[in-house]
């Protein structure tokens, strides 16, 4: 049995110290990093691609559920929630967490969670390393994404869904445009298509998803293709493949 390369995130130092102390006593957990805020945690997951995340729920800036939504599914680790009170238990399991621990955590409970993970793996996931990353964990059932957490230089910003005009890919990167500014997001367009509310956004092209509210005009180019102009002047030609949804929208 391999070790679980793990990360923990909690904004309280004493809570981190206690969990660290307990985790050192669990053989199959290798704690490779810790974060004292959710933003650092997002960054660490991107850099280290850990197997397991011990996640606090109430944190400044972003809560645990909001944090999970920001992680692309191909690097989303397995999740064990660690929190002070049980009001979020159901929501936690809906997000496909392995377990939900209550503070102060007992060592035996922590060991149980990890051995539960091990036995699941023994029975079903014998070759974790060989699995294509997309199969490691399917999308958590946390509902449509409403906010985007982005890093611009050293600064983290949060863009709310209504402020987004469009998403597009260029040179292998996926960009979000809001108020005329483009910033890189870590998701692929396909993943965004799953995460975005279909009543607010529409995919019009292999490389473009636009918000309905930012559409200014349409011009038919024949053979089920349209030129769409957005409020900020951006023009995109829709592909035939996506035209049926657009037509439905145009008809009302």
């Amino acid at each position: 049995m391999g070790m679980y390369r793990s990360i923990l995130v909690d904004d309280e130092e004493l809570a981190r110290n206690r969990l660290k102390k307990l985790l050192f006593q669990v053989d199959s957990v290798d704690l490779i990093a810790e974060a004292d805020n959710p933003f650092t945690c997002i960054e660490l997951i991107g850099e280290l691609n850990p197997d397991l995340l011990f996640l606090d729920i109430q944190m400044p800036g972003l809560n645990g559920f909001e944090l999970i939504q920001q992680i692309p599914s191909n690097i989303l680790p397995l999740i064990i929630f660690v929190t002070a009170y049980d009001q979020y238990a159901l929501r936690a399991f809906e997000s496909l967490a392995i377990d939900y621990l209550l503070k102060p955590v007992k060592l035996s409970q922590l060991q149980n969670s990890v051995s539960k993970l091990e036995s699941l793996e023994n029975r079903f996931l014998k070759h974790r390393e060989n699995l294509p990353t997309s199969q490691r964990q399917s999308n958590p059932l946390t509902g449509y994404i409403k906010r985007f957490v982005l890093k611009m230089g050293k600064k983290w910003i949060i863009i709310e869904e209504p402020e987004v005009d469009l998403f597009f890919t260029e040179d292998k990167y996926c960009y979000l445009r809001s108020k005329g500014i483009d910033s890189i997001v870590n998701f692929t367009l396909q993943e965004l298509e799953e995460k975005l509310d279909p009543s607010t956004f529409i995919r019009v092209h292999r490389s473009t998803i636009i918000a309905y509210k930012s559409i200014k005009s349409f011009r038919s180019l024949g053979s089920a293709r349209f030129e769409i102009e957005l409020i900020d002047g951006y023009k995109v030609i829709s592909s035939r493949y996506y035209s049926h949804v657009l037509k439905k929208y145009l008809v009302g």
Binding site: A15, N37, F39, Y85, P104, L120, N139
Partner: protein
Amino acid sequence: MQNILGYLKQMRYAIMVILLVIIASTTLAFYNLKQFEEFSTFNLQREGILLSHILSASIVSREDLENTSGLQARIDRFTTSSESNIKFIELNIMLLEGDGSIIVASNEPGNIEETSEEEHENLLSSLKYGKPVVFIGVEEDNDEDDENDAHPISDKSASFGGFQKEKRFLSVTTPLIFDGKGLGSINTKLSLDPVDEKTGLIRLSLQIATIIEIVMVLAGFAILVKLFMDEKVNLLTEESMRYLAELKALQAQINPHFLFNTLNSLASLISASPERAENLTIEVSELFRKILGASRKGWWTLGEELELIRNYLNIESVRLGKNLKFSISSSQPLDTIFIPCLVIEPLVENAILHGINTSVLGGKIVIDIKGDTDLVVIVEDILTIDENYPLSEASKGENIGIKNVCKRLNLVYGNAAELNLTTHQEGAIAVITIKNIRSFKYGNV
């Protein structure tokens, strides 16, 4: 006659207690039943999602899907696994082919190449959203239509008297997606009806509840008779009522997050710094003792309220470390001004929950008591903002604490008191103003 009426009057609390016991134990019995159902549904739902999710993960490649016998073996291993306490109704793997779909492996080989409309629909919608589709449904037990004659006796009992049982089930359809292309799905259907031994458990708990009910009613009568003879009825009810009121006040006042986070800090400090753990324990006991006292008194001095707030903030400082700074100052006399208990503390708690806790670097709470003939209480949170990190989304409509303070101020002082809360980008400021504070006599809250 006069005497009997008098006795009845004295007995009224005891009668109330007996009625309460009856109501409570009946509720308990029904609650047990309901909770058990919720618990089993919840657990099964969780395990069902997890299992189908794991089964889909155990299919490593597209090629695996073509190896029908391998998939069948995998499914057999799942359904016969003794570790799982899940009762599978159905478990199968469906592949989408052209315009229709077929099952390639199933726990009931008879099902192969025969898909229901419902399964087909779930398959399509799970592929559309790329996520598992979960739902709980009810189906009629149609054992009598079953062509399988292997169990004629059970068939008879199921259709006896034309009575049809309903079976609840949970269905989970997990899409199989390779290289962005949906190939099919894994479907699990689990029975949500409790297994026999557990039904037995419910019956047992109902019986126990009934027995407890009878015993308690009898005990209630016995106590009533005894007290009636000892003429202690009034004494007991007053004391126990007060005790209950205190407990209720403590419960209402202690936020569970606060309680468990504090206990967690304590657990962390006990080995790391026994001295700090000891100090924290003392702070917590003082806080709880003051809250209990508050419920008894109703009113106390401004100084007592500020001491309780200092207690609370000392405890939160242990948890939040350098993220919480605070100052408390007053130009009003602390011992001669009386206020309703716990009327300022909720503002401080609010400043932590909706202020300090939203910033990665925390902030400072400033409490200042001012005024001349009026009493002016200012509770301000000034956030320390790291320009690299955004604040939490402002949580709206959760200021229950503030609303309660408003209500209480209005009840006690009417129009003479007001509470203003102003939030801005770097914090919030709450101000209570009570006009001509010394004209109010304390005593009735």
